[in-house]
């Protein structure tokens, strides 16, 4: 699952060692290599963590302690990557790749899955929903990139999960939401695309570390079932709803653990929604799925 070296260097240090340049400047190139190696490890740790969070034993309730610890690790990595600017560089590359309607196989999907969402910016600025793959660029996207990032969160893992792997622009809601919620929840999606606020970077950072949705939050179904039946609601009124959401998402991948990545996504796309999941259906393009799989596998 290691990305190719060239791309990694680009995202980490942003500089390209010129031929022969290494001889001239030994210590700094060593430092660059060490930095790259650290970033490599960090990236692979991030990927590993995200996979772990999604591959849960679905027959039995997942171990909450383990999930919390992994989620905290993910957030830690995100924060560090944000602070040293790696995040920004990576997502810049991502958006560039998106615009070209062709994602490099080297780009790790894990980072694309991460999307920031801050409650503070909900409703503040309605941004144009960003389409799934390629097509026209979104002006808000550039705004976001320039703005800088605070905390980042994971996108939802739900029965619609395959779409969560679609390349999404950093700072915008992942495009899977687009696809799922287009019909009914467009307004909500727009609200949730709250990334291009005018707040300062540092404010954003502090704010996000406090308000940034963590894994469990984003695990909630973003698009609740529309116009719930009042009778049903009453029936379930004394049920602990938030835990259901957590459950639903963590159990949304109703596939056996320890499956290969191909198997996992395939089974997801073919599996029907769990009883408590949103009624919106997942309309993933199989071609896109293949494409995503390539990225995950890192071929």
């Amino acid at each position: 699952m290691f990305p190719k070296g060239t791309k990694r260097k680009f995202s980490d240090s942003g500089d390209e060692p010129a031929a022969g340049g290494e001889d001239v400047n030994q210590p700094s190139s060593v430092a660059v290599r060490m930095l790259s190696s650290y970033s490599l490890q960090r990236q692979s740790l991030l990927d590993m963590s995200l996979i772990k969070l999604q591959l849960c034993h679905m027959l039995v309730e997942p171990n909450l302690c383990r999930s919390v610890l992994i989620a905290n690790t993910v957030r830690q990595i995100q924060e560090e990557m944000t602070q040293d600017g790696t995040w920004q560089i990576m997502t810049q590359a991502l958006s560039a790749a998106n615009a070209a309607a062709q994602c490099s196989a080297d780009r790790l999907v894990a980072t694309e899955v991460l999307c920031r969402q801050t409650e503070a910016t909900q409703g503040e600025q309605v941004l144009k929903p960003f389409p799934a793959v390629g097509s026209e660029g979104c002006p808000a996207e550039e705004e976001v990139v320039v703005e800088g990032e605070g905390g980042v969160t994971m996108s939802t893992v739900s029965p619609q999960a395959p779409t969560s792997y679609l390349p999404g622009t950093f700072g915008m809601d992942p495009c899977w939401e687009e696809e799922n919620g287009e019909d009914e929840e467009e307004d909500e999606d727009s609200e949730e695309c709250g990334s291009g606020s005018e707040e300062g970077d540092s404010d954003r950072l502090v704010e996000d570390s406090r308000t940034a949705e963590q894994v469990f939050g984003t695990f909630e179904i973003k698009n609740p079932a529309p116009s719930p039946d009042p009778a049903l609601e009453e029936l379930f009124s004394d049920v602990d709803a938030s835990y259901y959401d957590l459950d639903t998402v963590l159990t949304g991948m109703q596939s056996a653990p320890k499956m290969g990545p191909y198997d996992l996504l395939e089974s997801l796309s073919s599996h029907g929604p769990s009883p408590l999941s949103s009624s919106t259906s997942c309309r993933s393009d199989l071609n896109e799925l293949d494409h995503i799989m390539e990225i995950i596998v890192g071929s």
């Binding site: 772990k52 039995v60 309730e61 909450l64 959401d245």
Partner: protein, 447 residues
Amino acid sequence: FVGVGGGNDFQWCFSQVKGAIDEDVAEADIISTVEFNYSGELLATGDKGGRVVIFQREQESKNRPHSRGEYNVYSTFQSHEPEFDYLKSLEIEEKINKIRWLPQQNAAHSLLSTNDKTIKLWKISQRDKRAEGYNLKDEDGRLRDPFRITSLRVPVLLPMDRMVEASPRRIFANAHTYHINSISVNSDHETYLSADDLRVNLWHLEITDRSFNIVDIKPANMEELTEVITAAECHPHQCNVFVYSSSKGTIRLCDMRAAALCDRQSKFFEEPEDPSSRSFFSEIISSISDVKFSHSGRYMMTRDYLSVKVWDLNMENRPVETYQVHEYLRSKLCSLYENDCIFDKFECCWNGADSAIMTGSYNNFFRMFDRNTRRDITLEASRENSKPRAILKARKVSTGGKRKKDEISVDSLDFNKKILHTAWHPKENVIAVAATNNLYIFQDKIN
């Protein structure tokens, strides 16, 4: 009085091993909890299949004065069955997470056993006598014709084959949304607490339809969840005091007299982090997997992934003693994270005198630390060392490049052979060590 390492007048010897020998281990047979009762006469184990097996110590025999009584099966029963939560479409495992004995109040023994969701109180009683010579009944139980009875006799008690019966007396259900990780009987012998990932409840042993929630760390918004409860225990003497540990390496001591909901702790124990050793795994390895009060009630011990710490209840800012269990794993944390071993929950235990502590490791190794001499020893629970009264040899893991003879290198350790559950007899130097599906019992041998 534990004496670790040779040279002393003390050594650990193999005594018994219980369980199947074959390599193929049935998942249901994996031991998930081990606990001596208050006298040490009984030893209970729970397994993943929801069964409880209780061993009883035989009386010492004059024939073999050197070895103390052996533990033999006393009772076996199915405590919990697998369930299915229809609302969430999830299975509820029958695995026994914890067993805790109740103090003995009459001839019968009682224990609490719990799985992820339900706690049960089991009464284990035995009958080894029966009455003979009833007036109204025949020997085979048929009622005698009253007119035929011409004389009265006093029934006599005659010995019979011992019959042990386990019956569920109380079922404490539906009080935990999350997985129960701890139960602890209070010193008042009337109440007990149960803890899951986010809440701690207080029960009365006689009342099953109600429990008091005394700790609730569930955030209003589950999105903000970053910390869970990992273990909880009642103070051994002060019935108003209990502690609970967290996944962030903190311990909170609470006084139930302060408020109905003990959300604000009375004491907060946390060791400041060493900034030089910080890594992405720091939080995970700081997560406390077990907390145990000393018998004296003055100290408590916590187990995190790499170490055991002893805390003085009067000092909150750092532990008074820290023991490294397997520091050589620190450089392997990434691999251990990958194979999930980093989430293994090891338990720890005190000896009766609080002078020694024991905890498990990998490769079927377990470690003992003498608090007075500061000596430690690594022993192995394996079939190879299973000759009766065979003295256990100290094991060593080589960390450097050079591996001495008899040492084992870190990379050769078997991480599937983990000793998570150990128990120490409350009064004697007898220990029970659970190695996957086998239960090893070791005793001391005084030269």
